[in-house]
Symmetry: C2
Subunit: 390 residues, 2 copies
Amino acid sequence: MASALDFRVTHVDGPARRGELMTAHGAVQTPAFMPVGTQGAVKAMTMRQLEDLGVEIVLANTYHLYLRPGDSRIARLGGLHRFMGWNRPILTDSGGYQVFSLAARRRVSDDGVWFRSHLDGSLHLLTPEKAVDIQAQLGSDIAMVLDECIAHPASDDEARVAMERTVRWARRGRERFQRVMESQRAPDGLLVSTPGQAQFGIVQGSIYPELREISARETVGVGFDAYAVGGLSVGEPIPLMYDIVERTAALLPANRPRYLMGTGTPGDLVECVARGIDLFDCVLPTRNARNGQLFTRQGRLNIKNAEFAEDGRPPDETCSCYTCRHFSRAYLRHLFHVGEMAGATLNTLHNLHFYLDTMRRIRDGIVFGSFETLRLEYQQTFPAEASQHG
Amino acid sequence: MASALDFRVTHVDGPARRGELMTAHGAVQTPAFMPVGTQGAVKAMTMRQLEDLGVEIVLANTYHLYLRPGDSRIARLGGLHRFMGWNRPILTDSGGYQVFSLAARRRVSDDGVWFRSHLDGSLHLLTPEKAVDIQAQLGSDIAMVLDECIAHPASDDEARVAMERTVRWARRGRERFQRVMESQRAPDGLLVSTPGQAQFGIVQGSIYPELREISARETVGVGFDAYAVGGLSVGEPIPLMYDIVERTAALLPANRPRYLMGTGTPGDLVECVARGIDLFDCVLPTRNARNGQLFTRQGRLNIKNAEFAEDGRPPDETCSCYTCRHFSRAYLRHLFHVGEMAGATLNTLHNLHFYLDTMRRIRDGIVFGSFETLRLEYQQTFPAEASQHG
């Protein structure tokens, strides 16, 4: 089966790559950042606001949508794009990460993961095949294979067992995916919402280079449309994370996009592009916005602080976003303090603008030879600090 | 002093009037509906969304803004328009209604109202003069005089005492307003944020026609820029409310706009325009949106209902709003159920669009002779039902 995913690298600067990814719902300029739309909506945003920001691709969480409103329901309503009113690309995760981090109880075996819903305690089984089926019904442009996510720290043995299981699941997931996509309509009445869906494999192996190497080799051997680096930004030291990213990216095919899952801070984006990553997602810009933390060219700004009570300046005087063009720190602080939803919206608009602007500057930097300068700027403005997976 | 407020009636249809109100921050086509921006933001909306909806004027609550962030702070930041990032007209209430409905404890005398903040229990005195000063510092385009708001039902005697006090307060409030506006900067260092501010008087008198008559005569005698009908939509029967509106409007100068405070349902808008009202405000479209109730041409629709779980139709198939053009009932129901803020935003966009569209249809109806037809339509679609003041 030919890859559903067209990917062209147009410029390189060391391991950093500038490219274009073509999906069933259009192009994504890479390196790209994907805002997280957990439950079929990016928190505090409308789709129009995302479009106006220039968002090209969003991530949606399979675990949440499987539980509510259900992938079959979404499929009957015409698929996730139509359901969300979003006609640009969507990537869905496999559901695995949330099962391992959010579900009430879980039991892993080679079959899959039994878990109880964090909402109503109902019992579910997620298998590599089921993860494919759910995402086929959702109809994302990019589906992720089911992997086993382990906590940090994990022993070499724990990490090896999970990595080896992830490889076995990758084979089963890929097989199921090919059968579903070739048949268009699987025997059990599965609805395939987006025929041109692509599937990414995931490299695991925790912080152990030798496990990462085996995982990369075996996963690439399965033959996915592209590959992700999973199991990072889970509490490990930042320099170690960067080191694993660098080693793992180097093991992945140069002609396929590389996706670093659940990362990161603005500094992480720049540093991991420098190590060969093309795609990112993270809840940091949206979650921190709702908590009153804004990312600016001067660093992080906590809008709650008393010092901003009569500060008539915008959050970032160099920023051209809607929030910075129209509103003061004093107003945003007021909205936060009185609990007005508009505060969450305006802060989120700003942070997503900052993240997308960072990606634009990264892409331009790679094309015009100024990427190293940008990297130094971000190292000074955003010294290494842990981001939050989600 | 000449009126700060230019008002032209261009068409009439019985007591119904089509006109234009010119304020310090631009024109308002009347009859008009003012969305409520309690704390300096219309809940779940950005200013750009309000602009895109065609909102021409918003109401802000003096009580809330006086307590947080404070009128002096807003004045130092350049006034409420600049603070909110809203360059179109703003009307502020006097703070009285919230003091009487929301403050923890209160004691009324001829001086004013002592009350305790519902936030921190701090003690405050609101007088007719103070209400003027606060609104001068906020810098709204239209300020309301302080009135005494009483509950329904009230005896004739209770209503008379409150009405007479309201008249005495009106004289003091008007005097203070003229002194502040003429001096531009009152002796005690008050900042006048909008020099061209206008001031409306308020007719009280509960459900008693004879008290309304005295109140209207005395309040008009004071000589405000325009007049409001207060003390309605507080629980009285709808037909009685309409009757009081009709009688009171007829007592007010024809060449000045008439504002019915805190009303109402879509049906109320049409019925009260038919009785001579030009301006409305109400929390109903925004509050009900957040509770999942949508106003449509077919009546009220509760998006929470299970029947909409797989309903791919928009809330109102005849509606041209952003929400109805892009999203299904199924999606809106999902957003409501999972608690996504986007649900509140999309529902609010729709309801405000419906209210503004109702006002557009009313204005066109008056101009083109189809107002009675519209009135019959609304009587059928929205049978009399109590709205909520707030």
